[in-house]
């Protein structure tokens, strides 16, 4: 079973601040890391191919520096990694991200299974996977907890759905997004990193894609526009709830109503 894992490079910290006067993002050291949820996706892919054969490849969209995440995946034992990088991809929203990824996945070859992490830690939308599946024309299942069996043309899996757990047989090829905490991702091998084969990392750009209509990518291919960004109103006000026990209890109950907890 050949598996492709979608990976994203995310900021190393979510502690981003906006200058309240200029509305500009304050940069606090632009360190990046692999989206932590993607580690579970890689681990699941590796375990599946160890058991059932096949290979694990990875793909990411981002700046050329996202190569670092492909190196990390290879050090975890993935076969190769592809970075989809082009200035034409800049300014993408979910729609254009998903479309670009789907074009990139098609350019990477044929796969039985595409695995995504649950969500990213910077975008937090958890919706790119389903949109990619639409553009690949394959079924998708989110919140996958485990793959119980691999059959010639299908997989049997369990997935969480709100207050239920669902067991399903899904035809291949398909796309799944895995839940967090479903396995223990292995550590990247330092030894592999010391002698990494650069040939295992590929770069693809707009020119390599089948769809050459520029209006489907980047800002032009995005449906949503950010009108403005602003710092959130912080509830840093501290409030004392005085009075006797009865008054305090009443005030707490009112607070619960105000917070829509009741």
């Amino acid at each position: 079973m050949d598996i492709l894992v979608c990976i994203k490079q995310v900021p190393g910290s979510s502690q981003v601040e906006v200058d309240p006067v200029t509305g500009v993002l304050k940069r606090s050291g632009v360190q990046s890391k692999m989206n932590p949820y993607d580690l579970y996706a890689i681990e699941m892919a590796l375990q599946l191919t160890e058991q059932y054969g096949g290979c694990v490849k990875c793909v990411t969209m981002g700046p050329p520096q996202a190569k670092a995440e492909m190196v990390e995946a290879i050090c975890m034992d993935a076969e190769s990694g592809t970075v989809l990088s082009d200035r034409k991809f800049a300014g993408v929203d979910v729609l254009a991200t998903a479309y670009t990824l789907s074009q990139g996945i098609k350019a990477c070859g044929e796969f039985d299974l595409v695995i995504c992490g649950k969500q990213t830690t910077d975008g937090d939308t958890a919706q790119v996977g389903a949109e990619v599946a639409e553009y690949l024309g394959v079924p998708n299942v989110s919140n996958v907890l485990s793959v119980m069996a691999v059959e010639p043309d299908s997989i049997v899996l369990t997935a969480a759905l709100d207050n239920k757990t669902v067991s399903e047989r899904v035809s291949l090829p398909c796309l799944i997004s895995v839940d967090g905490d479903i396995n223990t991702p292995r550590l990247p091998s330092f030894k592999v990193k010391q002698s990494i084969d650069e040939g295992k990392i590929h770069f693809l750009s707009f020119a390599d894609f089948a769809d050459q209509d520029e209006s489907h990518y980047g800002l032009a291919g995005s449906a949503t526009q950010v009108e403005r960004i602003f710092p959130p109103e912080k509830n840093t006000q501290k409030q004392d709830i005085p009075g006797n026990a009865t008054e305090q209890a009443k005030a707490l109950c009112d607070l619960l109503c105000q917070l829509k907890m009741l």
């Binding site: 601040e17 906006v18 800049a90 300014g91 949109e131 669902v166 209890a249 707490l252």
Partner: protein, 397 residues
């Protein structure tokens, strides 16, 4: 396609350095007197605003959509096993508010099998029309047939905005349908507003809640957004004035490559890091009576009970229930800290919670440094009274 054009002739080393430093994504470089923008660019356009004409935004002819052809605000009714998720009602209330700006009707879309009762139920929440797709193939949620029915509805009814609850189901269905429509989708909106020109203003937290982003989809319809449960208020049910409209779709469009084998209710998990509400018990509230009251409050609020390290070490609570550096990190919407002094090791695991309420007899306890609401008093006296007030309110709802 809008793009950034660099006027190299205007570049001076100081302007260049300012731009390199000012780019929040580190996408601008300045080497050998040439300014370059890499694919790290997110088109935030800060360089256009601050570059003194060095970077120019070149716009193409804009795509347009005839917005008058798209009318109505639609709520996707999240219905599983015949039960409507309450986020649906909250969205119906919000949809009515938004519709009052543009005079649009409010619709609900209900997909499933044997859904007459939930359809009638929806009418009580001020919906003008409930569109239903009722078919055996739609009994269980499967992505392709649900997407097909949803898309069929959009093609026939052409709603301007679509609100979807950010449930596990909605998070799969909304993006899939939005992709098919090539339309914009904004996840986890916390504020929704309507413009006179029917553009839906969607505000959501970004970068882990450190920034709020205001988003619109000015050139595509419909406009999709998802909203989490309990973000908006549930309206009171009223006398129905709307109608149920049964829709039909060609059965072959409902085929699926997914076969549902088994549906099980999820075992109640005690994962405190996922809970929206936590009632945390410390040494000042460790008696059995107090623990029972804490559990009762947690049950009433749909939350879980958690504890501190000393009580876990004493064997009173399970290690899975421990908050703090050596336990779990939690970020609930609300946390009650009962009789907890607030050692750094504890607060490190909970201080980013949305609302922190602390009850402690010691006015100098460090827990009050992180608490948003400080109650200096005896938890044993306050809790029974609080429980009876809460029950009274619940009784009236």
């Amino acid at each position: 396609m809008p793009s950034l054009k660099i006027h190299q002739e205007k570049v001076t080393p100081s302007v260049a350095q300012g731009l390199v430093k000012g780019c929040p994504f580190g996408a601008i470089s300045y080497e050998e007197g040439k300014l370059a923008i890499s694919s790290g660019c997110k088109m935030c356009k800060i360089c256009v605003k601050r570059g003194g004409g060095v970077v120019e935004l070149v716009e193409d002819a804009k795509k347009e959509v005839d917005k008058s052809l798209w009318c109505g605000i639609c709520v996707y009714a999240d219905c599983q096993e015949g039960e409507i998720h309450r986020v649906t009602y909250e969205l119906c209330g919000k949809a009515r508010e938004l519709a009052s700006v543009t005079g649009h009707p409010v619709y609900a879309l209900l997909i499933g099998h044997g859904i007459e009762a939930p359809a009638e139920q929806l009418l009580r929440y001020g919906v003008d029309k409930v569109y239903t797709y009722d078919h055996p193939a739609l009994e269980h949620f499967r992505i392709e047939p649900y997407t097909a029915a949803f898309y069929d509805f959009i093609e026939k009814v052409k709603p301007s905005s679509i609100l979807v609850g950010a449930t596990a189901l909605g998070r799969q269905l909304a993006p899939r349908v939005a992709a098919r429509c090539r339309a914009g989708l904004t996840a986890d909106c916390t504020v929704l507003e309507m413009k006179d020109n029917t553009d839906l203003v969607q505000i959501r937290p970004a970068f882990g809640g450190n920034i709020m982003a205001q988003i619109i989809s000015p050139a595509t319809r419909p406009q999709f957004c998802t909203v989490r449960y309990k973000v908006f208020s549930e309206p009171k049910p009223t006398t129905p004035h709307g109608e149920v409209v049964e829709m039909s779709i060609a059965p072959e469009k409902l085929s699926s490559r997914v076969e549902v084998l088994k549906v099980e209710s999820k075992p109640k998990d005690v994962d405190i890091s996922e809970a929206d509400v936590i009632v945390a018990v410390g040494r000042g509230a460790q008696s059995e009576g107090m623990r029972q009251m804490a559990q009762e409050l947690a049950d009433l609020l749909g939350g879980v009970v958690a504890s501190t390290r000393p009580l876990v070490e004493a064997g009173i609570f399970d290690a899975k229930q421990q908050i703090g550096l050596s336990g779990r990190t939690v970020k609930p919407k609300l946390i009650f800290c009962l009789g907890i002094s607030g050692a750094v090791q504890f607060t490190a695991g909970m201080k980013s919670s949305d609302v922190i309420v602390a009850i402690n007899t010691d006015a100098n306890a460090p827990i009050f440094d992180v608490a948003h609401y400080s109650v200096v008093g005896d938890v044993a006296e306050i809790m029974p009274k609080l429980l009876s007030y809460v029950k009274e309110v619940k009784h009236h709802v």
